[in-house]
Point group: C2
Chain length 197, copies 2
């Protein structure tokens, strides 16, 4: 075996923002607690055991029913700050781009590996699907929120500025209640590159 | 960013075995086709949108309801052959250790990364959760099947001999019918080691 294997490891973090999208819009609103169940956040725009495929799954006809691995979006305020600075704006708020949860204390949050488990002190567990990819739709929402609706160049700049900074998508492994300020223990799985380079 | 990132890649494979456990036992029986749905294989020992935690999840009290990411077990006959040879027996059959599917044509199948998508020609899609870990229970079943029931040393030797050769667990991303001899296209996601070493 020529693979270099990195053992499973633990990392600690803290919940510094919670948000939910309880309407027809993917933008979220700050809340003090989130109840999560196997469907995700009940009533949320992204809730469901399954979802319809879109442009992120070019291998399926649009609208194909598939397992919903994108129930929650997890962001880092530090990464959003870096993206904002690169776009030449003051900030990007998690609500504008559909964030459900912000975590503090993890450098390069968006680079956490698939399968990372997030054990919340209150008992809920989320499991990371993968790094999220920034899209033009989020860029448009940001432009509108900074009072520059219709600024196509600004909207587009989100795609490059937020690359590898747009957080993670995750699903609920174990239901529970997540509260603002709660601590989280992350368990990163063993890792290796396949095949060896 | 100091991470070396390996791009997403495609790999081709072929289904050379299909099996189902339609009883109370985790051992499987060969079949010519498998219908898979969001619950996994209907009626199978491991079917379900959720499951009860066990010794693989020491962080939960045993029996905790959690999302079922272990709906199917995918094996490689080549890897099983290597494990058998190390145990000093002629073969390990996929049925003995609860295999649902064997794939041919992929070296080191067990090392495929979490999140690998398996697109079956007939329309079903499976998504890899993670490498499976060999346990003593499977070792006992192997000992019984080779006519050495109660041979504790043989049973135990499976744990070390099948390490990183015990295949993958996966769940159904898109339902469909999988047939023997079918081709599969695998899509390995982007990969990197977090944090950089």
């Amino acid at each position: 075996m020529d693979l270099t294997i990195q053992s499973a490891r633990k990392v600690a973090a803290k919940v510094d923002g919670l948000f939910s999208a309880q309407g027809d819009d993917f933008e979220t609103v700050a809340v003090n607690a989130l109840e999560v169940c196997f469907e995700g956040i009940p009533g949320d725009f992204h809730a469901g055991l399954t979802r319809r495929s879109g442009s992120r799954e070019p291998w399926y006809p649009r609208g194909t029913e598939m397992r919903n691995e994108r129930q929650l979006t997890i962001l880092s305020r530090a990464e959003l700050g870096e993206a904002a600075s690169q776009m030449g704006i003051d900030s990007i708020e998690p609500e504008w781009i559909g964030g459900n949860l912000t975590l503090a204390g993890i450098p390069m949050l968006s680079m956490l590996p698939a399968g990372t488990l997030m054990f919340f002190a209150g008992g809920a567990t989320l499991k990371v699907d993968f790094q999220n990819a920034p899209c033009r739709l989020s860029g448009k929402t940001i432009a509108r929120n900074v009072g520059r609706e219709g600024d196509v160049a600004l909207a587009l700049s989100f795609v490059s500025s937020a690359k590898r900074r747009r957080g993670l998508t995750a699903w609920v492994e174990k239901p529970g209640r997540i509260e603002l300020g709660e601590t989280v223990e992350l368990r990163l799985p063993e890792q290796w590159i396949y095949p060896p380079e």
